[in-house]
């Protein structure tokens, strides 16, 4: 099949250069009149075991790929899907577990999901994907990797890494990237042909060399898995530890270093659990925007190319006020799906929930909802543009966002059954051909 974006690496670089200017012009236009963002829902009906969608990314071909994960069903396996614009529906690509010869009937923890682990490679049209664990063996109700670590019969085989050729539409090869552990998040340094990942449960930093197809374990970072790794212009890889410090891997020194400061967090918190949830690169790659995997997360802007340690900006809370003496669950208070669209604006989805004091809502209103926000990176003005609606459940927990080659937004979602993905059709004035470029290279 032809690459719908029609772009090779040379054109991709050219397209990326003009993005910032285009974004500013569109931002000005956007202030003039209300715009319609059409929300469409695509459930994973052809994979009824599927109960979560942790990964959603644009491929090197400009199409959007998502993971139909099945972690709640014993023996469940993940199936990658792709949005098909011609039929306005989903294509189910393959049964990943069968592809790597680790079927859901094995009696082991299963190849049940891809967790923030799509990484597109522009030069060769490959979409790398790596698997994560949690799905129980087919004859057990739950799987606990700590409990079963030494159980040769039950333990997870390891994170499978697959190279999916989006041009030929086939899996070129696969390997076990992290023995015994799952891959929580994945990043590709295309120029150096290295994949970086975080292992689960041990929270080790792993480097996989695509040339030799060998992995190297640089050791443990912390206890809580960060949910994203990101790459800077100097090929350094960044993530976080348990207490909200930045962790930086520098290839030249081959070291993992810890920042002397913590990321901005609410003053009533200590910084603990301020680990990256989602990180989106700015189109010019000078900074990134991040949300944390912690209730009451701030939006944060990080300038990794400045100074010995990056300049950090706190852009303020992503979600609503609350009674700080009350525990708000992590699956209730959430911000994800950060993505720059063709209009040069940052979009993200933040949860909103009924609170008698801080957010009273009518009884007829759904108790929780996912609000799509647009943030102007120049003025930092935020505007609510639409809400996501699940046909029979909540739609407040968005995992990842992406923009396809047509300029539409896509969001992965978890928390309601059936599981699936959202497409948010961008207003015509905000769409741009090849809006997905330059590619985000991490899940």
């Amino acid at each position: 099949m032809q690459n719908p974006s029609g772009l090779d690496r040379r054109n991709f670089l050219k397209a990326g250069t003009g993005l910032a200017a285009a974004g500013l012009a569109m931002a000005n236009a956007s202030a003039k009149a209300p715009e319609e963002y059409g929300v469409h829902w695509y459930p994973f009906l052809e994979h009824p075991d599927s109960d979560t969608c942790w990964s959603l990314s644009v491929g090197p071909d400009g199409r959007v790929y998502a993971a139909a994960c099945a972690e709640g069903v014993p023996g469940g396996v993940v199936k990658p899907v792709r949005y098909n614009e011609k039929k306005d529906g989903l294509d189910y690509l393959f049964d990943l577990a069968a592809m790597v010869h680790d079927p859901g009937t094995s009696g082991r923890a299963t190849q049940c999901k891809i967790h923030y682990s799509f990484a597109p490679s522009m030069s060769d049209g490959v979409l790398y994907m790596a698997t994560h664990l949690s799905g129980p063996p087919i004859d057990l109700p739950v799987y606990n990797p700590w409990y079963s670590w030494h159980d040769e019969k039950r333990r997870f085989i390891g994170a499978a890494l697959l190279a999916y050729d989006t041009r030929q539409e086939k899996v070129l090869w696969y390997d076990t990237m992290i023995p015994k552990e799952g891959c929580r998040c994945l990043l590709l340094d295309e120029e150096r042909q290295l994949l970086y990942s975080m292992s689960y449960p041990r929270d080790h930093f792993i480097i996989y060399d695509l040339k030799t197809r060998k992995h190297r374990d640089l050791g443990r970072i912390s206890s809580i898995n960060p949910q994203t790794l990101f790459l800077d212009k100097r090929h350094r890889v960044w993530t976080t530890d348990d207490y909200g410090h930045l962790i930086r891997y520098t290839p030249e020194t081959d070291r993992l270093e810890v920042s002397p400061f913590t990321l901005p967090h609410p003053q009533y918190q200590t910084g603990w659990h301020s680990v990256f949830y989602d990180v989106a690169p700015s189109p010019d790659r000078e900074c990134v925007y991040a949300s944390l995997w912690c209730p009451n997360t701030n939006l944060i802007r990080i300038w990794p190319n400045e100074g010995e340690w990056p300049r950090i900006e706190n852009l303020g809370p992503a979600t609503q006020d609350r009674d700080t003496t009350e525990v708000v669950g992590m699956y209730e208070d959430h911000c994800g799906g950060l993505v720059f669209a063709g209009d040069g604006q940052l979009y993200y989805v933040a949860s909103r929930w009924r609170d008698p004091k801080y957010n009273p809502m009518s009884a007829s209103h759904k108790e929780r909802e996912g609000v799509v926000w647009r943030l102007n990176p120049k003025t930092l003005a935020r505007e609510e543009v639409t809400t996501l609606v699940h046909p029979n459940g909540f739609a407040h927990y968005v995992t990842r966002g992406a923009v396809d080659h047509n300029g539409d937004l896509f969001f992965g979602h978890v928390g309601s059954y059936p599981c699936g993905i959202f497409r948010v059709a961008m207003p015509a004035g905000r769409k741009r051909e090849n809006a997905h470029l330059p590619l985000r290279v991490w899940g």
């Binding site: 004859d139 670590w149 443990r220 530890d241 993992l256």
Partner: protein, 376 residues
């Protein structure tokens, strides 16, 4: 129409219910309390760097002051106290060129550390410090000591382990090929390393109750070094049949003088200088067995298994060994514990484990107090 996969088990079966119960209640530390403490003054200083903080050596004083050393890109020495007005781990310094701390021993008025690196296997020392006089709630003070380098233990040979001798007046170390002693009563400037005999260093060594230091010898045996006489007896003790080749680990019951060790398959044995080895007392759930220590009532606690160790308890009064699960701390620091490098018994019978991992912490384990019915 595709349908959901049907589970292949009966959720009401006793087997499945027992499995669920064990997963929920038996995965992480099942009894007692663990407290993970970072290698810093919490809230005031930063810990030892991530890749330099594998805690591989610990020792303690009767008053509860702990000393330790790390391994990694650079070795560090530290002092720690968790009694009085403390809860601090304070870095004492970095022995030049060292990347591994093989042992730390409190002896005389000093703390001797044995480190390996580009400059060979060396002994360094610092004076012991009394932190009880400091108020680490307010108005504290601390000055890092000067590290004295006593030189290479035996030319070209890495240090494998070391222990304090009887009454902590001396230190006995073993390199890959030789036994080396230190008179710990000498002034720092006059400390001398003396090679006293030839014996292989493999795994840990231990001080027996009658003044002998024991280490793994060639074949299925232990060598014995008589500290008072300064003599080495090769193949002094035969190891139990089937003991295997796992690196030696030891724990000492200070009350009885009994030593504990473990074979390659996780079998636990006791050893008494003079009486010899017991038969197999119990088997740890995983092998190899790592660091162990004995609390005041005689219970032995240790870790077993690679990559993700599990803690076990052997109770000599019942002869039973229990799997206590994976280490986890929710006090002081919220952290899982996977690999441990050393263990000592603390002032009040708590066990202190050194975490041999990136970002290693000191783990205090407070065993569960036995129920009244279990009193002897």
């Amino acid at each position: 129409m595709q349908t959901k996969t049907k589970p292949q088990f009966d959720p009401e079966s006793p087997k499945i219910k027992a499995y669920l119960d064990d997963v929920h209640h038996g995965t992480f530390i099942k009894e007692g309390t663990m407290v993970a403490c970072a290698t810093c003054f919490p809230g005031m200083t930063t810990p030892i760097p991530l890749d330099e903080s594998h805690i591989t050596a610990l020792d303690g004083t009767p008053h509860g002051t702990l000393y330790g050393g790390t391994s990694g890109r650079q070795a560090h020495l530290f002092i720690a106290l968790f009694h009085g007005l403390s809860n601090v781990v304070l870095e004492m310094g970095m022995p030049e060129g060292a990347i591994e701390t093989a042992a730390v021993c409190c002896a005389g008025s000093r703390v001797f550390a044995f480190v390996n690196g580009a400059r060979g296997g060396r002994s360094v020392s610092v004076p012991q410090t009394d932190l009880y006089g400091e108020d680490f709630i307010q108005e504290w003070g601390y000055t890092r000591p000067v590290i004295t380098d006593h030189g290479e233990c035996s030319s070209g040979e890495p240090v494998v382990h070391a222990v304090a001798g009887p009454e902590r007046k001396s230190v006995v170390a073993v390199t890959s090929r030789h036994i080396v002693t230190i008179d710990a009563t000498a002034d720092a400037a006059n400390v001398k390393l003396t090679v006293v005999g030839e014996a292989p260093g493999s795994g840990r060594i231990v001080l027996g109750s009658r003044g002998g230091v024991f280490g793994r010898d060639d074949g299925n045996s232990l060598w014995r070094f008589d500290v008072a006489k300064g003599s080495v007896q090769r193949h002094a003790v035969t190891l139990p049949k089937g003991f295997g080749d796992a690196p030696l680990t030891w724990a000492t019951d200070a009350a009885s003088g009994l030593l504990y060790t473990a074979g390659a398959d996780g079998n636990i044995y006791s050893f008494h200088e003079g009486k010899g080895f017991s038969g197999v007392l119990a088997q740890a759930p995983l092998a190899p067995v790592g660091p162990m220590a004995v609390t005041f009532d005689g219970r032995l606690f240790g870790f077993c298994g690679n990559e993700m160790s599990k803690m076990f308890c052997f109770d000599p009064s019942t002869g039973k060994l229990a799997n206590l699960g994976v280490a986890a701390s929710v006090l002081e620091r919220r952290r899982y514990g996977y690999t441990f490098g050393d263990a000592v018994t603390g002032r009040d019978g708590e066990i202190v484990f050194g975490e041999n991992d990136n970002g290693g912490h000191l783990w205090l384990y407070f065993p569960r107090i036995k129920a009244a019915g279990a009193r002897a």
